[in-house]
């Protein structure tokens, strides 16, 4: 299986983990993408990328003032920098054997475990399990950034479902989100505006 490796774990807890990776990687993951960490005990922990940050490494401030900057220097900065690009992942479920659970993992991944991007098939399998239970991890405390992540995730997952000829998935996902949030009018309206901007449906 041609899995796209993203990076290695820097830190983790039950709710999520922080991953470090090179900036130059060709397939830099998207916000909202579904990822996986395989644990040594056979469990696989699934998470959604909720933040990607590139920290300053001490030299970049000086380089940024140089004009024109040589392309070689840019590449060197990205390949050889000391501070990795950081990806924050929210745990949304795990797999034990063939069974997928939309629960927090029994134990978090360990340092330097590898984070991989889930394939479209795996995305379809994970997001089709149950009734969108994994989305509650995103909606538990629906901050503005989490709402954006939710929209980004639905975009990513929808692509996988369209490939699998499951065009109805997005509509069902939106219905479920409405059901969860219908008693919280302000949040639901905020979420729906965000989903409208994500253009999940052919009619806009």
């Amino acid at each position: 299986m041609n899995e796209i490796q993203i990076g290695r774990l820097l830190s983790a807890n039950s709710r999520g983990f922080l991953v470090g990776c090179h900036v130059s990687q060709v397939n830099l993951p998207e916000l909202g993408a579904l990822t996986r960490v395989d644990l040594e005990n056979g469990l696989a922990v699934y998470g959604i990328i909720t933040d990607i940050s590139i920290a300053e490494d001490g030299f970049v401030r000086q380089l940024a003032t140089v004009e024109p900057i040589d392309e070689t220097i840019v590449r060197d900065h990205r390949l050889n920098r000391n501070v990795p690009l950081e990806i924050r992942v929210l745990s949304v479920g795990y797999r034990s054997g063939k069974q997928i659970y939309h629960l927090l993992p029994p134990q978090p991944p360990l340092g330097l475990d590898q984070l991989v991007l889930c394939s479209p098939d795996e995305v379809v399998a994970f997001t089709s399990t149950g009734r969108f239970g994994y989305l509650r991890h995103l909606l538990h405390e629906p901050s503005p950034i989490m709402i954006e992540v939710l929209a980004a995730h639905l975009q990513c997952a929808q692509r996988a479902h369209l490939q699998a000829n499951q065009a109805d998935w997005s509509r069902r996902a939106v219905q479920e989100i409405i059901t969860w949030l219908r008693d919280d009018y302000p949040t639901l309206i905020q979420v729906l505006h965000c989903l409208a901007d994500a253009r999940l449906f052919p009619d806009g």
């Binding site: 939106v174 219905q175 219908r182 008693d183 729906l192 505006h193 409208a196 999940l200």
Partner: protein
């Protein structure tokens, strides 16, 4: 054994409520598929509940979803999902009856349950008044034709008569004619709502099924011969023409014609049959004075109960003569002279004579009738024929009150005699009789009710095999005590709050039914309710047209003997 009918499409599920405040169900179909008054079934475990939709209510999880037109803010797919999840319609259901269905047929549990019934260890399931409530999320369906037949009876049953159809699905709804005539009944509705058509319809059913004799006091000459509907201009078949061998039209007065046609015979009233009470009944319409009873008593005392009317009629009112001294005094055959002889105030007697002149000049009141019309009517009714007494040209209230009360008094006496004889000899059981009274409030209002024979019939004549069918547009004018005695009630649209209250008097769930009654369509919709009806239901009434007569023609005529019919009716106790 009761049949379990195939359920129809689910329309919702129970979300709350109780026996006192009705059940609430969330609709899963568009609200326009359910109407107030819809008959619904609720499937809950081993029980089926039957109820009526009494309210349809829009709701929202948050009022702001309803306030804002979110469909204009979001793409159609999102807006549709949002509205579907946050806006909803609830219905309120008045639960009325329940039926134990038992476990799922075909299962071991069902076989056990059925076995216990067959062995007599548990009673055969039957329709019961509701005593509990269905569970949360119990399925709610619109009633199927089978459900309707379960509650109101199957149209195939000889004693059931289709009176209308459910408004949504058009399932036939029957009334049991046996129950219908067991107690006095009423047909109500504002002018133009189709009371007369409905009455014709029911009478045709009763005549065809041959369960009771019918006497119609046809004040406006509508029921006997063919007529033209005032609103549609279409021909309306008369009962005499529909059942020429069983219905007799009687015209009031010698030589009278009804809509240009000759009746089967004429009714004349013998003066000797008129009693003081028949006159006192007319106090309102003739504006009689308070002295009238005293004067009448004196007349009876002077001439006897059989002659008083004849003698009084023959007196000359105001006739004077001169005595030997040339003084003007009342003539010997004058009213005043009789009054003076009898110790009655002459002015009171003259006033009564003057006011009774309207009766003195009626040609249907004669000293010696050509035939015993009243006796003939009684005889026909006893023989199982049906009589329509048409008032012909005598459409005034005074004629209607006078004749209908006098005739009914005679009939009542005859039926009481026959009943008493039957109870002694156990032979010749009286045939049930239904007396149809149009404009009933004229005879059964608060002032007159206690004086007429009709209120007695409404109250207690069931045991003498006589009941009333009162037809009226102002039920609020009918005496409460009479209204409360009515069994089956069929009402078209009523606008007046007092009339609505009167129709619902004595019934459970009045507040709920009130809304249904006031929301009926002005034509061809009726609310069927009361003692003879297991569950109140609004209906699209059956049409009284050629098709109806074709269907009646195809129906079987009851072969049941009078005795058999009476036993089934419970009159043989």
């Amino acid at each position: 054994m009761l049949t379990n009918s195939e359920p129809t499409e689910q329309i919702g599920y129970i979300v709350g409520g109780g026996l006192r405040e009705n059940l609430r169900a969330r609709l899963t179909v568009p609200s326009d598929q359910v109407q107030e008054g819809s008959f619904v079934t609720i499937y809950s475990g081993n029980w089926t509940f039957y109820g009526l939709v009494t309210n349809v209510q829009l709701g929202a999880t948050d009022p702001r979803f309803a306030d804002e037109q979110t469909e204009q803010r979001f793409p159609p797919a999102i807006a549709q999902s949002l509205l579907g999840q946050t806006l909803y319609t609830n219905i309120e259901i008045l639960p009325v009856l329940m039926l134990e269905r038992g476990p799922e047929p075909g299962t071991e549990a069902y076989r056990r349950w059925r076995g216990e019934i067959d062995q007599g260890l548990r009673p055969e399931p039957g329709i019961l008044p509701v005593k509990t409530v269905p569970t949360h999320h119990a399925r709610v369906n619109l009633a199927s034709a089978g459900d309707i037949a379960e509650i109101y009876g199957s149209p195939e049953d000889e004693m059931n008569f289709i009176v209308g159809y459910t408004r949504e699905a058009g399932h036939p709804v029957c009334i049991n004619l046996d129950r219908f005539i067991q107690r006095s009944a009423g047909i109500f509705g504002a002018t133009g709502t189709g009371k007369s058509f409905l009455t014709r319809l029911l009478l045709a059913g009763l005549i065809q099924r041959n369960r009771a004799s019918v006497l119609v006091f046809d004040m406006h000459n509508e029921y006997g011969f063919d007529d033209i509907a005032s609103d549609s201009g279409l021909a309306v078949k008369g009962l005499r023409n529909g059942f020429p061998a069983r219905v007799r039209v009687v015209g009031l007065g010698r030589g009278s014609t009804i809509r240009g046609q000759a009746p089967d015979f004429h009714l004349e009233i013998a003066m000797k049959d008129i009693r003081p009470a028949d006159i006192e009944l007319l106090s309102g319409v003739l504006n009689l004075r308070e002295t009238t009873p005293t004067t009448l008593e004196a007349l009876v005392s002077s001439f006897g109960v059989d002659r008083w009317f004849t003698e009084f009629r023959a007196m000359r009112n105001g006739a004077m003569t001169e005595d030997e001294e040339g003084k003007r005094i009342p003539a010997v055959d004058s009213v005043a002279a009789w009054a003076n002889r009898s110790g009655v105030h002459p002015m009171a007697a003259e006033s009564l004579h003057s006011k009774l002149s309207i009766l003195f000049h009626r040609d249907y009141i004669v000293e010696q009738p050509a035939a015993d019309g009243i006796g003939e009517i009684v005889r026909l009714l006893e023989q199982g024929q049906h009589v329509i007494l048409s008032f012909g040209k005598y459409e005034q209230d005074v004629d209607y009150l006078f004749v209908s009360n006098l005739l009914t008094r005679r009939i009542r006496e005859a039926w009481e005699r026959r009943t008493d004889a039957y109870r002694t000899t156990q032979t010749n059981e009286p045939r049930p009789l239904l007396i149809v009274l149009e404009e009933a409030h004229k005879l059964l209002n608060r002032e007159l009710a206690s004086q007429t024979t009709f209120s007695t019939i409404a109250r207690e004549m069931r045991k003498y095999y006589v009941t009333l069918l009162i037809v009226d547009q102002r039920p609020s004018q009918i005496y409460d005590e009479v209204m409360s005695q009515l069994g089956t009630r069929i009402s078209g649209w009523l606008g007046d709050e007092d009339d609505i209250r009167a129709v619902l008097a004595g019934l459970a769930g009045r507040e709920t039914l009130r809304g249904m009654l006031s929301h009926l369509q002005p034509k061809e919709e009726v609310l069927l309710l009361g003692w003879g009806v297991p569950l109140p239901i609004p209906l699209r009434s059956r049409r009284y047209d050629d098709r109806f007569w074709q269907e009646i023609g195809r129906g079987k005529v009851s072969p049941a003997s009078v005795k058999q019919a009476l036993q089934e009716l419970g009159f043989d106790q």
